[in-house]
């Protein structure tokens, strides 16, 4: 059985450490905030200018001046601070944020990441993604293992090299998919390693669905994400 979105988020939450400042992308990465272990202090940064992001507001308490980078209404916490976009990206580019968890269209075995444009389609823009992957200390990608097209065809997303324009070159440290977990040695250049399998998933199944070359080093066998 492949992991669900919640199980992928729970697995990503295992990368959190006490005291971390973390930036979460939209989609599955946002769900990671539901799995922060009790008692662990993690401050979430929103690149539109907020550190210490609280939960969504109760109905009727929404504040148009208080949104996250996905333009969703949110709330503040006792730990919250607000700042300009320049200060926000000083935190990001300056390496002060410990961890960025974000989605991807493609990841290559050397750590290249593509998640902002598909040539020939209307491009919405990269927003803060290029700054995040270039500046944050550790970058974890959470994504489906393969892309399923409307006609039912399936394309691998873990590739030898990205075919889409890059968001960052050699930036990804870890990829969590619905099938397993890979580490990438983006600095050392020794490539990608499969370190965990989702329940009931085999190495052969992953090999079938992966274009990228990878080593296998399953620590303690199967992992139980959720």
């Amino acid at each position: 059985m492949a992991w669900t979105r919640e199980q992928m988020a729970a697995r990503a939450a295992k990368e959190l450490r006490d005291g971390y400042y973390v930036n979460l992308g939209i989609g599955i990465p946002t769900l990671v905030s539901n799995f922060i272990p009790k008692g662990m202090r993690v401050q979430l940064q929103s690149e539109n200018g907020m550190l210490g992001m609280g939960p969504f507001p109760f109905e009727g308490e929404e504040d148009a001046d208080l949104i996250n980078a996905g333009k969703q209404t949110i709330t503040e916490l006792p730990t919250t601070s607000y700042f300009s976009s320049a200060d926000s990206f000083a935190m990001i580019r300056g390496g002060h944020i410990d961890l960025s968890i974000l989605g991807a269209m493609q990841v290559a075995e050397n750590g290249d990441l593509a998640n902002w444009m598909i040539p020939g389609k209307m491009v919405k823009g990269m927003g803060g993604a290029m700054d995040l992957v270039a500046g944050v200390k550790r970058v974890v990608v959470v994504m489906e293992h393969v892309a399923k097209a409307k006609d039912g065809s399936v394309e691998p997303k873990l590739l030898k090299s990205c075919t889409l324009p890059l968001t960052g070159a050699g930036v990804v440290d870890m990829v969590i998919t619905d099938l397993g977990v890979f580490t990438i040695d983006k600095k050392g250049g020794s490539g990608m390693t499969l370190i965990e399998l989702a329940e009931g998933v085999t190495v052969d199944e992953i090999k079938q669905k992966t274009e990228a070359e990878f080593k296998v080093a399953l620590n303690g066998g199967r992992s139980n994400a959720a």
Binding site: N23, F56, A64, I92
Partner: protein
């Protein structure tokens, strides 16, 4: 010299010319100078270049100036929420320059601070670095980006005084403080206008030197793009950063 103008139209009178470059604060629809945008629409100026993180949505914010086809070029990081934008871009009426959000913020900050260019690792090895100088510092590659400076900046603040000192509120701050510094003439709209001396000098975000004209816009209509709430019983998990990918 009195910086306070009675309304947005008089604050902009005679300022906006065809072909100008204008910075407009805001992130999404949060902290946008909407009243000043409407006054620019009413000025009828065309072929404008706008530097703004986003392009509003249909009928709100800079979306209004797309309706009247007054914008020729946008310098932005994300324009996904605007159908008219896509239409005008795909038909070639509208030019678009994408900047990574942090690079855009720093280009504006640098422009306002008299710094013509800087190096950043954002975008190295991507389309963004094409045609730009790449230089190595301490074994790492960085791409050179230039500072931005506009003819006019329009910003939205929560509170301002008659000297032009500004205070922003929560995440409505975003690009407004840098943009206030990065033009020949900055006009601020403020929700609360107070006499000089009333704002604690320790709490001023934008010193009045950067603001030449100020307009009082009490009780502005504020828009929410993604109204998200939780039920009273739900556990209070943080909402997540919702990064734009």
């Amino acid at each position: 010299m009195d910086k306070v103008y009675s309304d947005a139209r008089s604050a902009l009178a005679g300022l906006v010319k065809d072909g100008m470059t204008i910075m407009a604060g805001g992130f999404g629809l949060c902290g946008i100078p909407e009243t000043l945008i409407e006054a620019i629409r009413d000025s009828g100026a065309k072929d404008l270049t706008f530097i703004s993180n986003n392009a509003g949505v249909d009928g709100i914010g800079l979306g209004r100036l797309l309706e009247t086809q007054q914008i020729r070029k946008m310098i932005s990081s994300y324009v996904g929420e605007n159908k008219l934008f896509a239409q005008q871009y795909l038909s070639g009426e509208l030019e678009l320059e994408f900047n990574p959000q942090g690079t855009l913020a720093e280009r504006i900050r640098a422009g306002g601070a008299g710094i013509p260019a800087f190096y950043t690792k954002t975008g190295v090895g991507t389309l963004i670095a094409e045609g730009k100088e790449v230089r190595e510092f301490n074994g790492e590659k960085y791409v050179m980006e230039t500072g931005l400076f506009a003819d006019i900046s329009i910003v939205h603040a929560w509170k301002g005084d008659t000297e032009g000192n500004l205070v922003y509120r929560k995440t409505a701050r975003n690009f407004n403080p840098m943009m206030a510094t990065a033009s020949r003439l900055t006009i601020a709209e403020v929700e609360h206008l107070v006499p000089a001396g009333e704002i604690d000098p320790d709490c001023i975000h934008t010193p009045g030197i950067f603001v030449k004209r100020i307009v009082h816009v009490p009780n502005p209509v504020k828009h929410i793009e993604q109204r998200t709430t939780r039920k009273r019983a739900e556990a209070a998990a943080p909402a997540g950063a919702g990064e734009e990918v």
